[in-house]
């Protein structure tokens, strides 16, 4: 089993269109319950609009804070799922079940398993004990 991050990218729309989109909520209630029951759903979150986003970067050790998202794009990250799936086919199948896929793009990204992360770091010469894997992810 592997984990996949499903990123929901959609255009931010005016309130009338948004109200139409809200109509899928009962479908989502059902879908999330069925994903949970099947043991696939690790987590799901919906995000506030990018108007409320703040970006942080370190500049000479100082936090530089800017209002707004990482990049200004037409389609923005509106929410995400983490699913536990057998393989990519399964993850793509679940992505296609999301009612938002009618207007949004669902980007499916494989998650690096904690022990792979540890291995990659060690290969890069980082000295880490085996237990580090517990805290890493």
């Amino acid at each position: 089993m592997s984990q996949y991050l499903l990123l929901v990218y959609e255009e931010e729309v005016d309130p009338a269109v948004q109200a139409e989109r809200e109509q899928v909520t009962p479908l989502l209630v059902e879908l999330h319950a069925s994903l949970r029951e099947a043991g696939l759903l690790v987590s799901v979150q919906r995000l506030h609009s990018t108007e409320s986003a703040t970006s942080v970067r370190l500049h000479d050790g100082e936090a530089e804070i800017t209002d707004g998202p990482f990049a200004v794009t037409k389609e923005v990250l509106a929410g995400y799922y983490v699913l536990e799936c057998a393989d990519l086919d399964e993850a793509l199948k679940q992505a296609a079940r999301l009612p938002m896929a009618r207007w949004a793009t669902i980007e499916v990204r494989p998650v690096i398993a904690p022990d792979d992360w540890l291995r990659v770091a060690r290969e890069a010469g980082v000295d880490l004990p085996d237990e580090a894997v517990e805290d890493l992810a």
Binding site: A86, D87, L88, D89, L92, P110, A113, D116, R119, E123
Partner: protein
């Protein structure tokens, strides 16, 4: 080119006949595409030395299988990055400990492994150019350099494309399996699309001097035949194989000795490859008997009608127009609509054909579609409008990158005066 000495010939033969089979099975056993491919490559390199020293083994395929598996074990021992490495090692070591190499694996296992490889290489999560490259590399056994040359890209670019595809297969866990029944028809369509794209890339090279890149046509035909063996119940698999064979039968007649394109109606029919035609017609018949019509079968039937007519004038254009009509119903596309208009023009006169072109000419997406303007020109010429025809030829010429097609369009335009 057939190598001169018997050892090289045996290795070339094993490479052609056994490589994909050994690779397909080893990918499943080792659980890693790249590792299996490297191991098979190692095994063939080892064969060069060992076979020269000890003679060609009685069963070259079994020798390569064993050698590749041992190389895979060595590589797995060294490479700690494979996720379920211990499990894989145990399985490979167990297989290696079986003293007798089973002469042939269960036939069904070989079939399944090759199908797994086909469906993985043609997985929709890979970009189309990557699917094509991976299929040619893993199933066709073409080298990265050969694929790069066939698609006119630099070898490092093609190398990166293939490596990236294999990494995505591993990282995203693209499964190594034949799709479940409910997905199978869709996924098989995708596989056929890859094979036909390889064929078309070879048949009507869009750029460059040569009109046909033969190695791609041959490779696509081989892949089509492989699929007929692996998925014998699917009518469209046979339909595609028939279609490619019937097109390819005319390969020698499509270009004249000076490299100029020759239109179907002007081709020297004695140059058509009768073996390929027989083979193609037999496959089409087989497809039709399965009673599941589809677009490749329709296209093959159209091509068969063109080929079976004694000459261009006696071709049954009315029936061809009808088959194109069925094709439009099944899968409407500008290409099919255009061909239908041409067939209708030949069956029922240029005015009827021109009428069908009207919506296509009005579609801004097709403004830069060269064949549309070439066909428009031809219909206008036959309708007795040389000025209109000349304009349309000009538009077609401006959109042609293929030197052979360009020469033909210029010749036709010249003939208007």
């Amino acid at each position: 080119m057939e190598p001169a000495d018997p050892v090289s010939a045996a290795i070339a033969r094993a490479f052609r006949d056994e490589r994909a089979i050994v690779l397909a099975t080893l990918i499943r056993q080792a659980g890693d595409f790249q590792l299996a491919e490297d191991a098979v490559q190692d095994a063939f390199e080892a064969a060069v030395t060992v076979w020269r020293r000890d003679g060609v083994p009685a069963n070259p395929g079994a020798w390569i299988t064993t050698a590749a598996r041992r190389r895979a074990i060595d590589r797995l021992r060294r490479d700690r990055s494979v996720a379920d490495r211990a499990e894989r090692l145990a399985e490979l070591t167990r297989l290696d400990a079986q003293r007798e190499e089973p002469l042939v694996d269960e036939e069904s296992t070989i079939v399944d492994d090759r199908l797994r490889l086909v469906f993985t290489c043609c997985h929709p999560a890979l970009a189309m150019p990557a699917r094509v490259a991976l299929t040619l590399r893993a199933l066709g056994g073409l080298t990265t350099g050969e694929i790069a040359r066939a698609f006119l890209v630099a070898e490092p670019t093609m190398g990166k494309r293939i490596v990236r595809a294999k990494r995505k297969i591993a990282d995203a866990h693209i499964p190594y399996r034949v799709p479940a029944d409910e997905e199978l028809p869709d996924r098989l369509r995708g596989v056929l699309r890859v094979v036909y794209l390889i064929f078309n890339e070879g048949y009507a090279a869009a750029e460059g001097e040569r009109l046909v890149r033969e190695e791609l046509c041959d490779e696509a035909i081989r892949l089509g035949e492989l699929l007929c063996g692996l998925m014998a119940d699917d009518a469209e698999v046979w339909g595609l194989s028939a279609l490619m064979l019937l097109h390819d039968a005319r390969r020698a007649a499509r270009v004249d000795p000076s490299g100029r394109y020759v239109a179907l109606d002007a081709q020297d029919r004695s140059l058509w490859d009768q073996d390929r035609i027989r083979d193609g017609l037999a496959k089409l018949e087989h497809a039709v008997r399965l009673r599941r019509p589809g677009e490749y079968q329709l296209q093959a039937a159209i091509t068969a009608l063109q080929i079976q007519a004694p000459d261009a004038e006696a071709t049954d254009w009315a029936q061809i127009a009808e088959l194109y009509g069925a094709l439009v119903g099944l899968n409407p596309s500008p290409v099919v609509e255009l061909n239908r208009a041409v067939a209708v023009g030949l069956a029922h006169g240029p005015a009827a054909g021109l009428e069908l072109l009207v919506p296509l000419l009005g579609d801004p997406a097709l403004e830069r579609y060269q064949p549309l303007h070439a066909a428009h020109a031809e219909l206008l010429r036959r309708a007795g409008d040389p000025a209109g025809a000349a304009d349309a030829y000009e538009r077609a010429l401006a959109l042609t990158a293929n030197a052979v097609e360009r020469a033909e369009l210029e010749r036709r335009m010249g003939a208007l005066r």
